[in-house]
Amino acid sequence: MRMPIFSLLALVVAAALFAAFLAIGNEYLFFAGYVVVQYVVIATAWNILGGYCGYVNFGTGAFFAVGAYATVALHKLQNYSENNFPPAVAEVIAVIFPLPIPVLILIGGLLSGIIGLLMGYLTLRLRGVFFAIATLALAVVLQTLVVNWDYVGGSRGATILRPPTTSLFGMDYIHYLFALMLLLAAISIIIARGIERSTFGYGLASIRDDELAAEAAGVPTLRLKLACTAISGALMGMAGAPFPYYVGYVEPASTFSLIYAVNAIAMPMVGGTAGWLGPLLGSLTLGSLQQIASVTISSEASLLLIGVILVAFVVLAPRGMLGWFDRLRPKRKGMVATGGGH
């Protein structure tokens, strides 16, 4: 019964944060906060594959962009259908579109989840650095496809005009996006924590520590890894789906940017990769620092900042911020055979 309580708590914290932002009343907070919370989702998603299962994914930008470009493609469909589809079809599309953002998030998540599954099938037999290179290659391939796809603007990019308010209680659009991203962050943390404490999570941990031993124990390694890439990819895509509405202009170079991949790796590393709390801590600190640096120094400085912090952590605190507290915590109790319901 601990699970529902944690979920409830995560949602309450998200709601409280939103209320606090509203109370402060500074509009810029929502703009900056959106990016930080978006990184909470991305870092948590990356850690499900990278931290729990030990497979380093360098293709975060690709998954993020799949979500973003799914939104762009669907957004453009309305205009496109008026000129190119039979009137009957165009009418139906005009009624349904524009799709509400939660639906776009689900579609983006589904698509990038499928891409995660496919990528997993192609690359999961590779280990270590080879898997990382393969995921990097995936990002390059997808970016090339998008650059050459004129419908979504190719390398020119696409402009998305968003209305100033939403139909939902006339809520300010940026508030709405921020609230959605907060909800998504809460959900990803609930999912990550759920995985961590499940048989699925123990299976992933055994793959991370010794894949051959896991196989000998009958852990269905390929199936678990595929599920893991799909879930991780889906969450990254979900984080990317509202992005076009947030920035208003999407083009391949910045959407597929390596900065997502670097942040997705740096944030869990800085926070600690063993559990859900690490990526959350890492993304909140690094994300906020980047936002502050962008405003006070320059946006280029924020990149430098991550680099320096990542190097410092890898050298000085390889187990992340959570490693600092390990000594303070009482020695962990063994997993008791009689405990646990499964």
Partner: protein, 243 residues
């Protein structure tokens, strides 16, 4: 019950490298078959093929479990484990940071084994009282011999009918090699297991062998149906005894 493995004309390799060439062997029910051979002759590859971790290019592997035939080449590793074929991998492959008990429980990952994990844990602790004393200790802090007990125990958590042990003597002091081999023999008798053991240590392995296969350059070079036959083999003398 009839629990045995029959391998017929098996060939396997990695890319262009041929490792196994037309290998046939039988692990008879309730007996210990020992696969003898020095490093790099294909013992581990053969075991990987049985466990579905390596796809052979030709041949057949059939396991009879409780009299029922199963074509192992059509099954995934986890399905083979589900049949009741347990593997103790070479070099033990334990999870060093986890405790003894956690390592053992990981052996009961399969749903069928999970249900009986408490009874099986008791059995493992009865068999290896030393592990019961150290159940909360991280495996990394234990001696090689004790670690081998954990590795054996982890395989037993699956209630296997056929136990496959890959080079149990690797990295062990001579006294622990003898003890480990004894324990495997004991387990075979108590649990009525069928055992396939790959081993380099000829003198130790042969003490418990019912059948011995000598594998040289990926081919079965000699088959001994009894201890005497193995002891008196010219080939074995040449390979192992330096005569």
């Amino acid at each position: 019950m009839d629990n045995r493995i029959a391998i017929r004309n098996l060939s396997a390799g990695y890319g262009a490298v041929r490792v196994l060439e037309d290998v046939s062997l039988d692990v008879a029910s309730g007996q210990t078959a020992v696969l003898l051979g020095v490093n790099g002759n294909g013992k581990s590859t053969l075991i990987k093929c049985i466990m579905g971790m390596c796809k052979p290019s030709a041949g057949a592997i059939e396991a009879h479990i409780d009299g029922q035939p199963h074509d192992l080449l059509k099954l995934t590793t986890e399905e083979i484990v589900d049949l009741g074929i347990g593997l103790v991998p070479e070099g033990r492959r334990l999870f060093p940071k986890l405790t003894v008990e956690e390592n053992l429980l990981l052996g009961a990952y399969r749903p069928a084994a999970r249900v009986k994990r408490l009874a099986n844990l008791d059995f493992v602790f009865e068999t290896f009282p030393r592990l019961a004393e150290r159940r909360r200790q991280p495996v990394a802090l234990m001696s090689g011999g004790e670690q081998q007990m954990v590795a054996l125990g982890r395989a037993l958590m699956l209630e296997p009918k056929i136990l496959i042990v890959d080079e149990p003597s690797v990295g062990l002091a001579p006294i622990f090699v003898a003890r480990t081999i004894d324990v495997i023999d004991q387990l075979k008798r108590v649990k009525n297991l069928t055992v396939l053991m790959a081993e380099q240590n000829f003198n130790q392995a042969i003490r418990v062998a019912d059948t011995g296969y000598v594998i040289v350059h990926g081919q079965i070079a000699f088959t001994g149906r009894s201890r005497d036959e193995l002891n008196n083999s010219e080939l074995i003398r040449r390979l192992y005894l330096g005569a």
